[in-house]
């Protein structure tokens, strides 16, 4: 049943008793053409584009828990393509373009809200660096505006822009087309659309082993039995290292926890996504009214999916320092997600030394915005057996060959994005 205002009204008359399931709950078949491990946004998007763009519909998405229960379901939903380095810029901009038509494409409102993403600069040096990035974006065909302090103050009135602030606001880099999206809806929308094209989405099915014969992948072992496929794509975010180890691969990845939090719901107070690298915090307001906030990693390896107090406190300190008006607002929930941090802060999307095994991971804390683009290039990579032009640079061997894509210049430390 297509979703629309009309169908909603029609169903209202019958007490909403006739809505079909958004996706089926099929039993796994013995074999598929492609198995996608991981039912997050990226895995589901990959399945969708495999079916839609490449006509490959004999596909299973295997999810150990519930759809979208990984980082897709726990991220702060910031969507942007404001990158300095060319490989990043072109890839994320492709993703941005897909976002701009995604609700219609999926027939599911993912609430993509282009309210602007504003990075605050707190010194001349940072302002200049942002300027260089903004100009690189413009040369790469991406929207960017460099704002001075007064423009920032006008755009975000609650921000402390006084010169006496501990880290005074100097200006900011705005990407007007950036914004947020309703994270769960992205997973559900892709799942529904992929299912409609014949993809089997199998929840509560954990992959416990990767079956190899003579250096080739032939299938997976799962908690629901063995499932065969000549091509397997790992799209498991924080668990990439864990899954790759099942195929004997060690990766330039560490898993770390990133925390996020929401306040109690408020009437609209903040219309832009605001981030401050110097203060290590970012904030936006969801359509439901909560202030959604996050910051830095906890900075130690963890699969705990829960955080610890210091990182959390640091985020709130920075937000209250930037936005003194929010001091009395209460937080109602905080949580963590497991990030697959690479050694240069950029993702890995492509082939592996194991034939038939493909990886899409290493998203660090910025992969939500990549969801459509990632699915799109990965579908192509799986279908053709080699990367698309847009993900060529994100290869696994770039570290050994000296082609790291180090947006922050932080070096081989798994903490940057």
């Amino acid at each position: 049943m297509r979703y629309s205002f009309l169908s909603l009204a029609r169903n209202a008359l019958t007490g909403h008793r006739d809505w079909p399931p958004a996706w089926r709950s099929p039993e796994p078949r013995a074999s598929y053409d492609v198995i996608i491990v991981g039912g997050g946004g990226h895995g589901l998007a990959t399945a969708y584009y495999l079916a839609k763009d490449h006509g490959i519909t004999n596909v299973a998405v295997l999810e150990k828990g519930y759809l979208g229960g990984g980082n897709t379901g726990r991220n702060t939903t910031i969507v942007r393509s404001n990158y300095l380095l060319e490989a990043n810029a072109h890839f994320y901009e492709k993703s941005m373009k897909l976002w701009e038509g995604l609700s219609e494409d999926l027939n599911y409102n993912v609430m993509f809200s282009q309210r602007g993403v504003l990075n605050l600069a707190h010194s001349d040096a940072q302002y200049n660096a942002f300027g260089r990035r903004g100009n690189a974006m413009r040369l790469n065909g991406i929207d960017a505006e460099l704002l001075d302090r007064d423009q920032v103050a006008a755009m975000v009135p609650d921000l402390d822009c006084s010169p006496s602030a501990r880290f005074p606001v100097r200006g900011g880099l705005l990407q007007p087309r950036g914004g947020t999206a309703r994270h769960d809806a992205v997973a559900w929308g892709y799942a529904r659309a992929a299912d409609a094209r014949g993809v089997d989405i199998i929840q509560n099915c954990e992959v416990t082993g990767l079956i190899r014969v003579g250096g080739r992948i032939t299938g997976v072992e799962t908690t629901r039995g063995v499932i065969k496929a000549p091509k397997v794509g790992l799209v498991v975010a924080g668990h990439t290292g864990h899954l790759a180890a099942m195929a004997g691969l060690r990766l330039p990845i560490e898993s770390h926890v990133l925390q996020a939090m929401v306040s109690e719901p408020l009437k609209p107070v903040l219309d832009t996504v605001v981030t401050s690298g110097a203060a290590h915090g970012y904030i936006s307001q969801s359509d439901k009214g909560e202030l959604v906030m996050g910051g830095d990693l906890d900075f130690y390896n963890s699969y705990g999916q829960r955080g610890n107090a210091p990182a959390l406190e640091h985020v709130v300190r920075s937000i209250v320092t930037l936005f003194p008006r929010y001091g009395r607002v209460r937080l109602m929930r905080f949580w963590g997600g497991i990030m697959d941090m690479t050694m240069d802060g950029s993702p890995i999307i492509g082939t592996t030394p194991v034939d038939g095994l493909f990886i899409n991971g290493g998203w660090c804390y910025g992969g939500f915005k990549a969801t459509p683009g990632s699915g799109w290039v990965f579908a192509q990579t799986l279908a053709k057996g080699h990367p698309h032009r847009l993900n060529e640079a994100f290869s696994l061997d770039r570290f050994a060959s000296g082609h790291a894509i180090d947006e922050k210049g932080a070096g081989p430390i798994p903490g940057a994005h």
Partner: protein, 87 residues
């Protein structure tokens, strides 16, 4: 906040330390091939479970220590001076 036992100072809050990552990777011989060096610098086991890792007691005695910690439960089962880590 984790409570990390420093072999020199005793249990101290996590905020007094700086994390140093996997403590099992060994710096290769200077004349080892490039690939071995790339492995040392970039590639990690990243285990789910017990993990031996380096921490620097930066706000305390400024010594590096090796901590054995479970990456799922965060339970700490050992803390050693480098060079005295049991195998």
């Amino acid at each position: 906040m984790l409570l990390i036992p420093c072999p020199w100072c005793g249990p101290r809050p996590q905020t007094d330390f700086t994390y140093g990552g996997d403590g099992t990777v060994v710096r290769p011989a200077e004349d080892a091939p490039q690939a071995a060096w790339a492995d040392f610098v970039f590639v990690r086991d990243n285990p789910m479970g017990p993990h031996r890792e380096l921490w620097h007691h930066s706000a305390g005695c400024r010594r590096w220590l090796v901590v054995e910690r479970d990456t799922v439960t965060h339970d700490i089962t050992g803390s050693f001076k480098p060079g005295e880590v049991p195998s």
